[in-house]
Symmetry: C2
Subunit: 431 residues, 2 copies
C-alpha cells in the first residue's frame, strides 16, 4: 500500500519497526562509498595489458611519440575518436588523460580569448550564463561556477532537456553562451536525448553568436547490453545541416574504458573551432602524452575493439545495476515514495524521493556508514529546490556491499517519507 494512503497510526507503527532496523544497520559499522562514478578493480583489470611493455614508439606518421610530437595527437588516436564521434579525423583533437580538463580549458579559452577570432572574450561581455539541464553533472556546474558564469536550470524530461524552455531562453538572451549536455546515458539519470531533441538543439536560433553546446559523450560506448542499447543522433551533422557547424564541442575519453585517471581523451569540433583551439593550445603545451595515446591504440585500434572491451565491462556492471533497480522496485515502488529512470548504460541511477526528503536520506545513510553523492550535488550551486534527487553510483562497490547499501538506502527513503508525512522531528537525536 502506498504511504499516502496509510493511516497515521499505521505509519507511526511502521516507523518504529523501521527505526529498529536502522539502528541495527548503524550497529554493523558499514563503511561503503557510492558517491562517485568510479570503475571497480575488476573493471580496471580488463585493460591491464594497456600497460604492457611498449617497444615500438613510432606512430603512423613516423614520429617517435616519446619526443615532442603532434599537438593534435597521433593519427591512430584521432582516427579512433573520429569513429566514436562520427566527425572527420582532421577535426579531432586527441589529448591527455582527462576530458573534464578539455572541457574546463575550452570554457577557459572562451572566457579569456573568445570562441573564435573576433568573437570577443566572454569575460568582457558582462554576466554571462549557461543553460544547465537538471539534474546534471556536478563537475560541469563547478566549471561554470568557477568562472562566475550564471547557471540557469532547465528540467530534464524523458527524452532530454525541456526544449521549449531551452529554445525560449537561448533565443532571447545573448548573454546565454552555452549549454551543458551529457546526451547519452546522462549523468545522473541515464537518459539519452531523442533524435528530435538533438535536432532542435542543432537548429534552434541563439541570440548569442558565440553560443556553444558542450556535448559530453562520457558514456557513448557504455551500454549495459549492446543488444539493448540507446542510440544518439550525430549532433555535429545536424548542426552542419542547420548552418550551425561551429555550435558543438564534442568530448569523450577512455576513462571508463581503460583507466579512470590515465586514459586518453578527445574533442571534436568544426574546422574553424579546431584551428582556433589548436592555435591557442600551441601556447599552452608542446604536445599531449602521445606515448599514452600509442599505448592505448595498440590495444584499442578501432571502435570494434573498444566495443569488445565494453561488453566485458557490461558483464560486470549489469548485475550491479540490477541489484540497485531490484531494491528500488521491491522496496520503494510499492509505497509510492520515489521514482527513477531505468538506464541502458552509463554509470548512475538517479532516484527522486518525495520532495524535501533527499538531504535527510543522504544524512541517514551517512550516519549508518554509507556515503552517497551529497543531495543537491546534481543541481547548480548544490541547490536542488525540491530536495528530491539522489545520484547512486553502483559501479565501484562489490555486489554484496551494494546489496547492503541499497537495503539501507531504501530504509532511509521510507523513514524520511514517513517523517515528512507525519511531520516528525528529524534531528539525528530522534534515532
Amino acid at each position: 500500500m502506498e504511504f499516502s494512503q496509510m493511516a497515521p497510526q499505521e505509519l507511526q507503527a511502521l516507523y518504529e519497526v523501521l527505526t529498529k532496523k536502522y539502528q541495527q544497520f548503524k550497529a554493523q559499522g558499514l563503511r561503503l562509498n557510492m558517491s562517485r562514478g568510479k570503475p571497480s578493480g575488476e573493471q580496471l583489470d580488463l585493460c591491464r595489458c594497456v600497460n604492457q611493455t611498449l617497444t615500438d614508439f613510432i606512430c603512423e606518421n613516423g614520429e617517435d611519440v616519446r619526443n615532442y610530437s603532434s599537438l593534435a595527437g597521433i593519427p591512430e588516436a584521432r582516427r579512433l575518436f573520429s569513429e566514436i564521434f562520427g566527425v572527420a579525423e582532421t577535426q579531432v583533437l586527441a589529448a591527455g588523460s582527462s576530458s573534464l580538463n578539455l572541457m574546463y580549458d575550452t570554457v577557459c579559452r572562451a572566457f579569456v580569448h573568445g570562441v573564435l577570432p573576433g568573437s570577443g572574450p566572454w569575460h568582457q561581455q558582462g554576466k554571462i550564463k549557461f543553460l544547465c539541464p537538471v539534474p546534471g553533472y556536478d563537475r560541469h556546474f563547478a566549471i561554470t561556477e568557477s568562472f562566475g558564469i550564471e547557471m540557469i536550470t532547465v528540467p530534464m524530461l524523458d527524452d532530454g532537456p525541456d526544449m521549449e524552455r531551452v529554445e525560449e531562453l537561448a533565443a532571447k538572451d545573448d548573454l546565454i553562451k552555452g549549454i551543458w549536455c551529457v546526451p547519452i546515458y546522462s549523468n545522473p539519470d541515464g537518459i539519452t536525448y531523442s533524435d528530435q531533441v538533438v535536432r532542435r538543439i542543432a537548429a534552434m536560433p541563439a541570440a548569442a553568436q558565440d553560443f556553444r553546446v558542450f556535448w559530453d559523450m562520457a558514456y557513448c560506448v557504455h551500454h549495459l547490453d549492446r543488444h539493448d542499447r540507446d542510440y544518439l543522433l550525430n549532433i555535429y551533422d545536424e548542426c552542419v545541416k542547420c548552418g550551425h557547424q561551429d555550435r558543438p564541442y564534442l568530448f569523450a575519453s577512455t576513462s571508463k574504458v581503460t583507466m579512470a585517471g590515465s586514459g586518453i581523451s578527445a574533442m571534436a569540433m568544426s574546422p574553424a573551432n579546431f584551428a582556433w583551439t589548436l592555435e591557442q593550445l600551441s601556447v599552452q603545451t608542446i604536445c599531449h602524452d602521445n606515448v599514452n595515446q600509442l599505448r592505448h591504440l595498440r590495444l584499442l585500434p578501432n571502435l570494434a575493439a573498444v566495443e569488445d572491451i565494453m561488453d566485458k565491462h557490461a558483464v560486470l556492471l549489469r548485475p550491479k545495476f540490477q541489484v540497485v533497480l531490484d531494491a528500488l522496485e521491491n522496496e520503494i515502488s510499492p509505497y509510492g515514495i520515489g521514482h527513477w529512470h531505468k538506464p541502458k548504460g552509463g554509470y548512475f541511477i538517479s532516484v527522486f524521493t518525495e520532495n524535501g526528503c533527499a538531504k535527510r536520506v543522504v544524512s541517514l545513510c551517512h550516519e549508518a556508514g554509507v556515503e552517497l553523492t551529497p543531495a543537491g550535488a546534481t543541481y547548480p550551486y548544490g541547490n536542488d529546490p525540491a530536495d528530491s534527487n539522489i545520484r547512486l553510483a553502483p559501479t565501484y562497490a562489490s555486489l554484496a556491499d551494494l546489496a547492503a547499501a541499497m537495503e539501507l538506502f531504501c530504509l532511509a527513503i521510507k523513514l524520511a517519507a514517513i517523517e515528512k508525512i507525519l511531520g516528525l522531528e528529524t534531528s539525528p537525536d530522534v534515532l
Copy 2:
C-alpha cells in the same frame, strides 16, 4: 685578424671565397634542423625501461593509480620533486606530462581568479606587465603575449638578469605582476643565476602585492658534467627568509630526463599558493595521470637515480656541445664577429652576432638547408632590437650533421659580418 681591422679589399676578396664555399654548401642539399631543444633518439633510449610492463598499480598511499586518485600526485612523485626543488613534499604538486602546461595554467588562474583568494583577478587590473630577461624562452613569452600581458625586457648579465633594472621596475609599478626566469642553465644562454641575484629576487620590494616569480627549473639536473657543474640557490628558502614565501612558483619536469612529450611535471610553492592552486585545480580535473607518475617513480625513485640517468645524457651531449663550441672558437673568435657564453648544462648555446646580422645568418642557413631558431625568437614579440641573438640547439642532430651545420653557420656569420661592414646588398639574389 679581426674583420674590423681588415682593409675593404681584403674583406671583399674573402667575401668572394666564402661565397663560393656557401654555394658549394647549397649544392649539397642539406636538410638539418637545429631549431628546437629536442632530445635525440639515443637519449630517449636511455629510459626505454620506463615503458616496461607495469603489474603493481598500488602507490605508497594505497591507492590504485589506474583509478581516480590523488589530485596532488602520488606520494613518491611528490617526494622526488621535493628533493629536486628543495621544498617540502606537502607543497609539491606532481602533475601531467608538461611543465609548460603548468606554467600556462598558473598564469591563467591568476588572470581569471587571482593568485590568492581576495587578491583580485589580473584581468580586472588593467594592462598588466611581466618582466622578461632577454634573451629568453620564446614559449614563456608566447604565454604572456596570449593573455595580453605587456612584456618589459631586462638584459641578462653573466650572473642573471640585470637586478638594478628588475628592482627599479618591480618597486615602482604595481601593474608588473611577474617575471619569467630560467635560473639554471638559462634558455638560451646557459647562464646560472648567482646567489646574489637569487637573494635580490627574493628580497626586493614589489609594488604589486600579487607579484610572482615564475621559476622554470627546466634544466636543474641537466649538467654536462656533474663534476663541473653550476649550483643554484634555493629561491623558496630565500623568499621565506624575506617574508615573501608566496612569491615564487617553481617548475620542473622529466621531459629531458625520460621522454620529452611523455614525462611527468611538477610545481612547488608556498602552503597558501598550494591550497589555492589545488582548490582551483580540483575544478579543472579529477587527477593527473598517476599511472605515468608511478611508471616514472619505479625507474627513478629519488634524485640519485635521476642523476645517474643524467650522467648518461651528459655522455651523449658533451661531444655535441663541444662540436658547437669548437666551431665557434675556431671560426668566429679569431675574427671578432660574435660572442657567446659557454654553458655547463642545459640545452642551448646562444650566439650574439654583430648587430644587425642575426636575421641574415638564419636566412643564409635556411637557404642552405639548415633550420635555426628564428632570429628574434628569444625576445618578446619576436623582436630582437639589435638583431644579434641566435639560439643553437645541438642536442637532436647527429655529431656529423652538427659539424656540417656548424660549418655552414660560421660561414654565414662571416658572410653577414662582411656584408654589414662593406654595406653590401644582402638580397638572396646576390648569392
